[in-house]
Amino acid sequence: MNQSEWPLWEVFIRSKQGLDHKHVGSLHAADAAMAIQNARDVYTRRQEGISIWVVESKHVHASNPDDAEAFFDPANDKVYRHPTFYQVPDSIKHM
């Protein structure tokens, strides 16, 4: 049964010039050209985009949510990476 199903594609849309492509959802299509056509009809019926990327879902590699804590932990205790960590004398301007 499953073999008849068209592959799944992830859709990314740039809403306007100067902005990133953003993930908006997924859809099924036989190939990339059809995925782009379908993405236009499914995700940009109201001028939501000016550019579309499609990536077959099986090619997306993701971090594991179960490891999220340990994985993202190293950034936790490095407050000195933020400008607010530093005290700037009141008389110093433009910093």
């Binding site: 049964m1 499953n2 008849s4 199903e5 068209w6 799944l8 959802g25 997924s26 859809l27 099924h28 036989a30 190939d31 059809m34 009809d41 499914v42 995700y43 019926r45 109201r46 993701a62 594991n64 949510p65 179960d66």
Partner: protein
Amino acid sequence: METLEMTQEEQFQARIDADVRIEPKDWMPDAYRKTLIRQISQHAHSELVGMLPEGNWITRAPSLKRKSILLSKVQDEAGHGLYLYSAAETLGTTRDQMLADLHSGKAKYSSIFNYPTLSWADMGCVGWLVDGAAILNQVPLCRTSYGPYARAMVRVCKEESFHQRQGFEIMQTLCEGAPEQKAMAQEALNRWWWPTLMMFGPKDEDSPNTAQSMNWRIKRFTNDELRQKFVDMMVPQAEFLGLTVPDEKVQWNEARQAYDFGEVNWDEFWAVVKGNGLCNRDRLGARVKAHEEGAWVREAAMAHAVKRTEREAVAA
């Protein structure tokens, strides 16, 4: 193992309670997953089947403008179905499985689409009342606990309000027209009012899953709460149109600051849910026919894609 499982479930509930969204790869209880697959796919099926009663009127729309609008609306509904199927697929089910369940009658869709659309005024009522009820159901779902479902609903809700307004405009145009047109509007309202109230589902005391769904923040309001909101919203709108809601018990209750209204015919509700509405067989038949007659297109597209990939591999 038992205690570990408990901890996971408690952690899960704590995240829900803190309004943290659940994402596809996160741990979730099996029952949460199953409930969501059932609810989201049912919702997707409703969008798909919901195109059928309107399809009947695309070729019969009274003007090119109305025809274009109706076409757009039906196209939106196809889109809404696709957003929702995608959201359900993130939970581990497949598109083929969901469609197979719809076509076999195992999965349900909204009973409202098992009523016939007899006149052009029905297109007004479907937009104004049916989509109005759908919006009340759907707006709280934009904050539902499962991320992909909530995001799909944000998209759906953005598009749905045009559906309701175009329906109201159809009703308003008819009500400002000839006496025959106004009568047509009233007659449509008479037929759609009660079935629309049924869209919110059984009474709270007959809805055993509501408590768990509220606890998981899949649902945000009970069926009866939403039904009351709908009546409070719609009675004044019907009055504005100069139409009468077909319920003698409708009356403003000063103490409750809400409208009292009569009892839904629950026998009819359950009969339609169980497959014995006016159009159940027609709708499912049309759906299955479209799917089966489209099989060769799906196969041909796939075969073409495979052939082209092979040709590119040879060329490279």
